[in-house]
């Protein structure tokens, strides 16, 4: 009996440490692999952008980003973003509301349609829009009759960007609102709140972090979109050039430092976006545990 006990105890002490060591090693190896991988594919290129951008000195750098074509591209990108993000936010809220609060036929189809832009290549999306709004397209002649130019102009770029960034807000909100349920909203209504009061006082506070997160992702994509915009914009310098298109043009003209300078500006915007995103996640988590 006594020997048995000792034996068992021995085993008992030995076993967990062996398991612990194993997981520790697995963890260490995985961490190393992850860091190497991310460094090679993300960190080094990112640093390289800034190194290349400043290669010919800060004078060339600032000249590149204050050049009138560059400024026009920056302005256009910001304008497009300022139009698309609010529109897709409204659309995303409406779509999430419809899907999570109502029962109707074709709900699954609607969900698939919302995610369609994720599945379709942006270049194809751009092409479809060109055919649709082109002079021989379905809508092109109609708009040109009213003197509205869509192709090779800002409205076209906005439409293309909206198409590509359409799913972001809705996709973030649907699971959040599903988890929330409608009981709180029903409670608000039964207490005499109007639909709008319910939305502002109850729904919005409950979904605000998910909504902000979706808007941030939407914003990042709107700034960076290349494919669809490239097809529909016609890339007219100083007119329909967005930042990503401008980078490509500079690069093709062998103005490497200038190309990297504008690219570095976009990278900074991306880093800023990521920081805000991380902050939102941190806040949301803090609120959940509070």
């Amino acid at each position: 009996m006594a020997t048995d006990l000792v034996k068992n105890e021995g085993k008992h002490i030995h076993k967990p440490t062996a398991v612990k060591k194993e997981t520790n090693w697995t963890k260490r190896i995985l961490i190393t692999v992850m860091f190497l991988y991310l460094s090679i594919f993300l960190l080094v290129p990112l640093v390289y952008i800034f190194v290349k951008a400043f290669e010919q000195g800060s004078g060339v750098y600032f000249a590149a980003i204050t050049n009138s074509d560059a400024l026009d591209a920056i302005k256009l990108t910001l304008l497009v973003t300022l139009i698309t993000v609010p529109l897709n936010t409204v659309f995303g809220i409406a779509a999430a509301w419809l899907i999570t609060r109502f029962q109707f036929k074709g709900k699954q189809l609607l969900l698939s349609l919302i995610e369609l832009p994720f599945a379709v290549s942006p270049v194809i999306a751009g092409l479809v829009l060109v055919l649709f709004f082109g002079p021989r397209g379905v809508m092109g002649p109609l708009f040109s009759e009213f003197g509205i130019k869509i192709l090779f102009s800002t409205p076209g770029i906005v439409i293309a960007t909206m198409f590509v960034t359409l799913p972001f807000v809705a996709r973030e909100l649907i699971p959040v609102m599903q988890a929330q349920g409608k009981a709180e909203e029903e409670a608000a209504i039964s207490l005499g709140a109007s639909g709008w009061q319910m939305f502002v006082r109850v729904t919005l506070p409950n979904i605000k972090w998910g909504l902000l997160y979706g808007m941030i992702l939407c914003n990042a994509r709107a700034i960076g979109e290349f494919g669809a915009v490239s097809v529909i914009s016609g890339r007219i310098r100083g007119m329909t050039n967005t930042m990503p298109l401008h980078v490509e043009i500079l690069y093709n003209e062998y103005q490497f430092s200038a190309a990297f300078a504008v690219a570095s500006l976009m990278s900074l915007l991306a880093i800023l976006t990521l920081t805000i995103k991380a902050w939102i996640e941190w806040r949301a988590e803090k609120q959940l545990t509070a």
Binding site: A183, E184, E186, A187, A188, I189, S190, L191, G192, A193, S194, Q197, R201, V202, P205, N206, A290
Partner: protein
């Protein structure tokens, strides 16, 4: 303020949730809608509140038709099963919500709202909790906040959906008697949904028993318990033993035993079932009369002060459950395997054809 429900029907797809329901709820009463899940009780409650649309029929309140009135115009206080408190608001803001969303000319002043909220907090015994968030409260406290929030708008009627469903047994009992007292104090017409017969019998002035989208019986707790209108009600309101037999001229013939059924003196040779509650059965060692049924003691166990005896009938494969109190059990001193006779003190006979549709 009477709630009148007449001929209300509701479908979910092809499922008939409510079938032609008519019901009057008198002013000031506390009424329980009791039934198993899927019986339509919650649907009916939500329809009274206006959270569910009415397909056919009308619901009126004190003579004025509510059928097409929007929820936020109905003047109801609704307490949700899982409280549905606003997570991002303090207890104070939760309770004040209904007053704060009022149109400016109907809205009480800030001071008045404050007075009202503290009054309600006092009423639900949560005076020190005004600045807490719902996440910082226990289940029972949340339920009381939900109730205070519903009462803040001074509703014409109070509707509660399984108000104690998510609470543990002890808290549930406490809140239940507290709700009863509260109702006596404020006297607002109240309807609550429950699947717990004990809760309904304990709290309600009247019980509406529902099954399969229909009302089985309406009555005071003692009426429905002592005089169940249907086998379903009998079964649902507590444990019951069934004795299948042939009913003929006031006698239920089980084969070896014959039970009295004085309500059916002119019945002629029909299949029938006798319903007997476990505490309405006597256990005797000898067969003294024709209504004693031979059984063998199968299992004996105690639940608190009560003893439950399970017996297997000698004439069939069915089991009979008898409930004895401590003294009865001590006096009988039963042993497992022993043959004894059970004799119903009270029985209700139903003829199945009457209830098969």
């Amino acid at each position: 303020m009477t709630i009148e429900i007449s001929n209300v029907t509701k479908h979910y797809g092809s499922f008939e949730a409510l079938k032609d329901i008519s019901l009057n709820i008198p002013k000031g009463e506390l009424v329980a809608l009791l039934g198993p899940s899927g019986s339509g009780k919650t649907t009916l409650l939500r329809m009274i509140a206006g959270l569910e649309s009415i397909e056919e029929g009308t619901i009126s309140f004190d003579g004025s038709d509510l059928t097409d009135k929007h929820v936020n115009q109905r003047d109801v206080g609704f307490v949700f099963q899982h409280y549905a408190l606003f997570k991002h608001m303090t207890v104070f803001d939760n309770i004040a919500f209904g007053l704060n969303v009022r149109k400016k000319r109907l809205r009480p002043s800030k001071k008045e709202i404050e007075v009202k909220v503290y009054e309600l907090l006092e009423l639900v015994k949560l005076s020190g909790f005004a600045n807490r968030y719902p996440a910082q409260l226990s289940g029972g406290q949340r339920q009381r906040v939900a109730l205070a929030r519903a009462l803040a708008v001074e509703p014409q009627m109070l509707l509660l959906d399984e108000p104690f469903g998510a609470l543990d047994a002890k808290v549930r009992k406490e809140l239940r008697s507290w709700l009863r007292k509260l109702h006596n104090e404020i006297n607002v017409t109240s309807v609550f949904v429950t699947h717990d017969q004990e809760e309904a019998l304990d709290v309600a002035d009247r019980i509406v028993i529902m099954n399969n989208g229909k009302i089985e019986q309406i009555g005071t707790p003692s009426e429905v318990y002592d005089n169940p209108a249907s086998p379903f009600v009998y079964d649902f309101l507590g444990n019951v033993n069934l004795f299948h037999g042939r009913l003929h001229k006031g006698k239920l013939n089980l084969g070896y035993a014959q039970l009295d059924a004085p309500d059916y003196l002119d019945a002629m040779d029909k299949n029938a079932v006798g319903y007997v509650r476990p505490h309405h059965l006597n256990i005797e060692r000898e067969k003294k009369s024709v209504d004693a049924i031979a059984t063998k003691v199968y299992f004996i166990h105690s639940i608190g002060p009560k003893w439950h005896i399970e017996l297997k009938r000698e004439d069939s494969d069915t089991y009979v459950e008898v409930e004895l109190n401590k003294a009865e059990h001590a006096q009988l001193d039963l042993t497992v395997g022993e043959v004894v006779y059970v004799r119903p003190k009270e029985m209700k006979v139903f003829i199945p054809e009457d209830f098969v549709i």
